[in-house]
């Protein structure tokens, strides 16, 4: 029976061997101090949960990440990277435009949307985000993002897992592995998407990390608290009757344990885990039950699957969940090859809920240690595909950050005159990951996992922390 490695089963020595090299102080300091494992062996009843909170490498600026994933790839020149030159040269081929994208494109195409300056910072934002624009001074727009390949699948994987093939753990899984999560009655990494985005579950995969670090996918097309997580709802017994049943199970498990010397980490861990499952039924249902929110709050977010997900995201981080990822929708909603005018509809889907989320996080003080990331897997061409659409573009695109330790009201980096390719202060997705991890208190070069003969990390052999955007 293949049973190793069991986190519970290890003695301190093997724990040091297994995790010490890999996790550095993240895993160690956390595991050892939180779990009082500095004694030679774990005291009875203190079995280690691999999801227990662990100390970061250094003081973090953020404790939670909410990743608002604009899957499909929003166009930078129609959202956060205004390019007046597109109007002047409308219809002409850009000079030196031998940049390859997925399909052929023709001349430059001006944005159908107007940009205006907002806030004290004067950050320019497209008219399709009227509500979000009110938060201009909180946003740190990264205008010089680049990724490797102008196709959805590899770029979705790069953005979520740091590699273009489906063979690496997702960032959320890495964060759970490195930091654990603060609420043991809830999953530590929650993904909300009505149905699946392109690629699908690999985008929140644990890959070679243990399975518990995988993101818990929730279909938010119609949030039913009893059904959001598999087997969460007990539909067979009343609460007291189930408690009575579990009391007997516990009693029998304790007899079993006593007969085996009275101290055994895996057996004890499972007894505890059964109790946690009992509590989780109620706590997890509660967090997904939006009925408890005020009418005002509900109206502020609006009523839609995406709005619900944003509100749930706030409720989750409030309760200590480490990572939340919300997709605009199933498939690839932002993939407007045919008509970029459709960005207006996509923006309408996200504008109000995202603005409400920022307001809400700010109001409750959560924004200080919650990092919000908004963006797609790549951007779109400033040139037209067909008559009105735009093709994929990996050479330059925009994402923005807000909250948890980043400067607000700023634009970092720049694309060329037409918004085709990043020109100043290029920032690769690896750099974004390194920076996000840094803000979470992790040195991306030290968060490693020994697998297949080498130490893997989210940023592979790349990634520079962008200190310029950190407040």
């Amino acid at each position: 029976m293949p049973t190793m490695p069991s986190f519970e089963k290890m003695t301190r020595r093997s724990l040091l061997q297994r995790l010490g090299a890999g996790l550095g102080s993240v895993g160690l300091a956390g595991l050892l101090s939180e779990q009082k494992l500095l004694a030679e062996t774990a005291p009875a009843g203190r079995a280690i949960s691999p999801l227990a909170p662990k100390a970061p490498h250094f003081t973090p600026r953020a404790k939670h990440i909410i990743h608002l994933f604009m899957n499909g790839g929003p166009s930078q020149v129609d959202t956060f990277d205004p390019k007046p030159a597109l109007s002047r040269y409308h219809g002409q081929r850009p000079p030196n435009s031998n940049l390859r994208t997925e399909r052929g494109t023709s001349g430059l195409m001006k944005s159908p949307f107007r940009f205006r300056q907002h806030g004290q910072s004067g950050l320019e934002i497209s008219e399709i985000f009227p509500r979000l624009a009110e938060h201009a001074d909180k946003l740190c727009v990264l205008r010089s993002m680049v990724t490797n390949i102008p196709n959805h699948e590899p770029s979705l994987l790069m953005m979520t897992c740091g590699d273009t093939q489906p063979v690496r753990p997702s960032m959320g899984s890495w964060l759970l592995y490195g930091l654990g999560t603060e609420n043991q009655n809830l999953p530590g990494f929650v993904v909300m998407c009505p149905g699946f985005p392109v690629v699908g579950p690999q985008l929140w995969s644990n890959s070679f990390l243990p399975g518990i670090f995988q993101g818990a996918h929730i279909n938010n097309s119609n949030l039913d608290p009893r059904r959001v997580l598999q087997n969460l709802n007990n539909s067979f017994l009343g609460r007291n009757s189930q408690r009575e049943q579990l009391d007997l199970m516990r009693r029998l498990n304790e007899i079993h344990l006593q007969q085996r010397g009275g101290s055994d980490n895996p057996l004890e861990a499972r007894i505890q885990s059964m109790e946690m499952a009992f509590r989780m039924q109620f706590e997890a249902q509660e967090v997904f039950d939006l009925a408890g929110e005020t009418q005002n709050t509900r109206e502020m977010y609006g009523r839609s699957p995406f709005a619900d997900a944003c509100l749930v995201a706030r409720r989750l981080v409030e309760r200590g969940v480490r990572v939340v990822q919300v997709y605009t929708g199933g498939g690839q909603p932002w993939d407007d090859h045919g008509d970029i005018e459709n960005h207006r509809n996509n923006a309408r889907t996200v504008d109000q809920p995202v603005a409400a989320l920022l307001t809400d996080l700010q109001r409750s003080g959560l924004l200080e240690d919650t990092l919000v990331l908004w963006g797609g897997e790549f951007g779109r061409t400033p040139t037209s595909e067909g008559a009105k659409g735009r093709d994929h573009n990996n050479h330059g695109f925009s994402v923005w950050l807000a909250g948890g330790g980043v400067k607000g009201g700023m634009a970092y980096g720049a694309t060329d005159e037409f918004g085709f390719a990043a020109a100043e202060n290029k920032m690769h997705v690896h750099d974004l990951h390194a920076t996000l991890l840094h803000l979470m208190g992790i040195n991306h070069e030290r968060l490693t996992y020994r697998y297949s003969g080498r130490d893997f990390r989210l940023t592979d052999v790349s990634g520079n922390v962008n200190h310029a955007i950190i407040s």
Binding site: R13, P166, Q202, L237, M249, L252, R270, K388, R454
Partner: protein
């Protein structure tokens, strides 16, 4: 800006630099390297060296043992040679010195990473380089060293295993077999005492789960208890090894290594491997037949080259699924990289799976820890690069021929029908004036588009009340109309002429005399095809509409032919042939080393041959086709020091919970060292001598005293060896998801023991087959499997993780599956006996293979006679017995095996 190869950031940088500067390395001795004038040295010492020490040595020096990008900046030689990107410093040429480019924070190269240095410092470096880069520092520039093969081969796992002498032990009476002697010797060395032997109940439960993944029946337990003969346990082992459930259990272990799955992780352009289960069944059958392991290896790599004659050939072709079910990535905008990634999947799975070597680490550079040069990686990758994944028909050649014959016949019949329909189709397509109308409209749209570049076909069609699809196809046609029709292409042509041409065409086709299936002359035929007949012809009319127009003889003939085609289609010979997802030979070719793993930048050729460390300094190149068979033979060879060791270690791991080597797919420098090297070698030698028989290996291991040890703790031992590395007791092991789920089905009486066949969705409530037959997906792994530590099938897995989280217990307490089993289990015991006490005892016997203790019995009886909470009575949907059955199935005792 040049499009740079979309490769990972780090080597993108290297690649860019290498393209620009790589030639410098080859350009001979660098100038001005030895003119050390005093002023230059002084300038260096004052302005350059301190900066290097402070800002660069941390990552680029011998002293810190770091050489990122293979660049050393702590010696003159290192600076001049440079790293992956080329020379860091070219004396006299600041602009060609990468170091300066990095300091200036150029587009693609920025150092030091912490921030740009001051303008003054950068100016100093520029001046220093311009003046000849005086540098007194000595030292070695070489980062990567040639492998010292003789030394490398002295590493433990590269030495041939030799059957060792048995060690001397004190406690001779404890030791039953040679295995015990090796284990005991270590225990005595470590001052540990073996605990007592397990009781017979524990033993048969352990052995039955170990070999079949199922619990023993109460009857089997009783029979064993009653059997007082000295070989009672040997008989149990033989019985279990002979069970077809043995292959289901141990086959699954191999499927973990083989990263077996039926699909791909991504979704674009994916062909599902719907016959993947044939590989799974082949593995199970091979193990049940105790196929010698060397043959097991060889068939998985080269069955098509080894077994040539039916029916054996058909039986063994599915073995090729080992590679044939491998990753097939989306061939996106960087197809070369995706293809290289696929080869990496093959190399990685083969080398870690069979050899316990992480050859994949040598994809971008020489292996940093093991003696595997980058060239060796490409020697193996080249073998798989010379093959292609394909579906091979699993049928005798005659049947394949018959299939082809009948398909040809059907095609011919359909062709004839098409010919009869063609005249009718042209007439229908050219009816009215639609040819003239659309071709003219398409031309007009071109004219319109010249004034309005953004004009859309759809809008134009709408405005002119035309069908947008036909207009789009017409547009395509007028853009490339063929000979004598060039006028359509010219928006500048007079409209009246274009109109005349369009009308001429119209008339020509409307009046075309019937051809009765004959083709026209070349140009005209092409035109008819383009306009009417081809699948995407401009005015294509679907079959049904054309047929409806037929009358008389033609109608009869078409009906007759169609009927005949349909009859053939339904015949046995036309039935799709079963296939194996396999690989076959493509054109054999050596690969070149991809520098930094970048397919766009290739270096020396890598002859297809075996790994040097496992052969010799210059292994013979593979001569037969891709070299697959020769590779297979090199792996499954008695001369290979790894293959047998790797396998016996995997088997040991699955019997004891931990291998003698704790890293079963890595026997290299970074892998664990064996706890019992002599025992490992003994087992490996014994295994090969026994004809690579797995069943003999199981038997030998399971008959040892160490396998019989109880799992009980012993305080003194625990203090010395809490990890139980020296095996003073048996590790208590948690059942994996397969065994746990199957055990529940067994106890509830619902298990369907049918063997083999297509897969079933695990979440289907009707699925009561063994878990090994469940659908395994790389894209969306079944929730239950993932939750209980089933490995990600995108990559080879050496062992299961073991985690305990509340979501797992939610499955125990709330899932329809467990509830279903609890109900069936309760019904079963209630049906089998009437007395309540006897029922509880029966439940314990079925689930745990033992009687309930008086305490357990009284707890159960109390529970059964309890009264429900008054408020909940009406909503509770489980009987007391069903609740108790759920407890029994959900308990620790059911999940953990002593």
């Amino acid at each position: 800006m040049q499009r740079t190869a979309p490769i990972q950031g780090f080597w993108k940088l290297c690649a860019v630099l290498a393209v620009g500067w790589g030639w410098l390395n080859a350009s001979g001795p660098t100038p001005a390297s030895s003119q050390n004038d005093a002023a230059g040295i002084e300038f260096f010492e004052k302005n350059i060296r301190p900066v290097l020490v402070e800002n660069c040595y941390k990552c680029h020096s011998n002293a810190t043992k770091k050489h990122k990008g293979n660049l050393l900046l702590d010696s003159q030689a290192g600076m001049r040679k440079g790293g992956d990107g080329g020379a860091a410093v070219v004396p006299g040429q600041p602009d060609k010195s990468l170091l300066l480019r990095a300091l200036r924070y150029g587009e693609d190269l920025r150092m030091p990473p912490a921030g740009k240095l001051s303008a003054k410092i950068i100016a100093d470096f520029e001046k220093w380089i311009a003046q000849g880069a005086q540098d007194p520092r000595e030292g070695d520039a070489v980062v990567t060293q040639e492998v010292d093969w003789n030394k490398a081969r002295r590493f433990w796992s590269f030495q041939q295993p030799v059957k060792p002498e048995l060690p001397i032990v004190q406690n001779v009476s404890w030791s039953k077999t040679p295995i015990d002697t090796f284990i005991l010797a270590k225990m005595e060395e470590e001052k540990l005492q073996p605990v007592r032997s397990a009781g017979k109940r524990e033993l048969i439960r352990r052995a039955t789960f170990d070999l079949t993944g199922l619990p023993p029946t109460p009857e089997e337990v009783d029979a064993f208890l009653k059997d007082q003969s000295s070989d009672a346990f040997a008989k149990v082992i033989d019985r279990l090894l002979a069970s077809p459930h043995y292959g289901e259990r141990w086959g699954r272990y191999w499927l973990d290594v083989a990263r077996y799955a039926e699909d791909q992780a991504h979704t674009f352009d994916v062909k599902l491997n719907t016959s993947a289960w044939r590989y799974r069944d082949w593995v199970i059958n091979a193990l049940n037949a105790d196929m010698p392991f060397d043959r097991f290896v060889k068939l998985q790599l080269a069955a098509d080259l080894i077994v040539k004659d039916d029916p054996e050939r058909i039986k063994h072709l599915p073995a090729l699924g080992f590679i044939g079910l491998g990753a097939q990535y989306y061939k996106n905008s960087d197809a070369a990289k995706a293809a290289a990634d696929e080869l990496d999947d093959r190399v990685d799975t083969v080398t870690r799976g069979f050899l316990g070597l992480t050859v994949s680490c040598a994809r971008c550079h020489d292996h940093k820890f093991d003696p595997i040069p980058q060239q060796d990686y490409y020697s193996l990758a080249g073998v798989f690069g010379s093959c292609k994944l394909t579906n091979l028909p699993l049928a005798p050649v005659e049947q394949q021929n018959r299939f082809k014959e009948v398909q040809d016949k059907i095609k011919k019949l359909e062709g004839e029908v098409k010919n009869i329909l063609r005249d009718e189709r042209v007439q229908l397509g050219a009816q009215g004036d639609q040819v003239a109308q659309y071709l003219l409209a398409a031309w007009k749209f071109q004219v319109h588009k010249q004034q309005e570049p953004q004009a859309a076909v759809n809008d134009f069609a709408k405005a002119n009340k035309l069908d947008a699809e036909i207009l789009k196809r017409s547009l395509k046609f007028v853009q490339n109309p063929g000979p004598n029709l060039e006028l359509f292409k010219k928006p500048s042509a007079p409209e009246i002429e274009v109109q005349a041409l369009a009308e001429k065409l119209q008339q020509q086709f409307q009046g075309m005399p019937p051809l009765d299936g004959k083709a026209l002359e070349k140009d005209k035929e092409a035109l008819v095809q383009k306009l009417f007949l081809a699948e995407k012809a401009v005015f294509f009319v679907p079959d049904a509409q054309v047929r409806a127009k037929l009358i008389g003889e033609k109608k009869q003939r078409v009906e007759q032919l169609t009927e005949e085609a349909e009859r053939l289609q339904k015949s046995d010979a036309a039935k799709p042939l079963p296939v194996a997802h396999a690989l076959t030979e493509a054109s054999p070719a050596n690969m070149k080393v991809f520098l930094r793993g970048n397919p766009a930048k290739q270096g020396e050729e890598a002859p297809r041959r075996f790994l040097r460390i496992l052969c010799c300094d210059t292994p013979p190149t593979f001569k037969q086709g891709s070299g697959r068979l020769e590779l297979a033979e090199a792996i499954a060879s008695r001369d290979n020091p790894l293959t047998a060791r790797i396998l016996v270690n995997r088997v040991w791991q699955n019997h004891f919970g931990r291998g003698l080597v704790g890293t079963p797919s890595n026997f290299g420098q970074l892998g664990d060292r064996p706890t019992h090297p002599e025992l490992l070698d003994y087992l490996a030698c014994q295994f090969m001598e026994s004809g690579w028989s797995l069943k003999k290996l199981h038997r030998e291991i399971m008959l040892s005293a160490v396998y019989h040890l109880s799992s009980e703790p012993a305080e003194q031992n625990f203090a010395r060896d809490g990890d139980n590395r020296w095996l003073w007791h048996m590790n208590r092991r948690r059942l994996d998801i397969e065994a746990w789920r199957d055990a529940m089905l067994t106890v509830s009486g619902k298990l369907d023991r049918a063997l083999g066949g297509p897969t079933l969705d695990l979440s289907a409530s009707s699925n009561v087959r063994r878990t090994v037959y469940a659908k395994i997906s790389r894209h969306d792994l079944n929730y239950l499997l993932r939750l209980f530590d089933f490995p990600d099938a995108n990559i080879t897995s050496e062992r299961r993780n073991e985690t305990t989280v509340p979501q797992q217990q939610l499955f125990v307490i709330n899932s329809p599956f467990v509830i279903e089993q609890a109900k069936a289990f309760a019904a079963r015991v209630q049906k089998e006996t009437t007395d309540e006490t006897a029922r509880v005892q029966r439940a314990y016997q079925l689930a745990y293979g033992r009687a309930a203790s008086p305490e357990e019995l009284s707890l159960a009886m109390n529970f059964l006679s309890g009264r429900d909470d008054a408020l909940e009575q009406s909503r509770n949907r489980l009987t007391r017995w069903e609740r108790l059955a759920q407890i029994v199935l959900g308990s620790n005792e059911f999940l953990y095996i002593d």
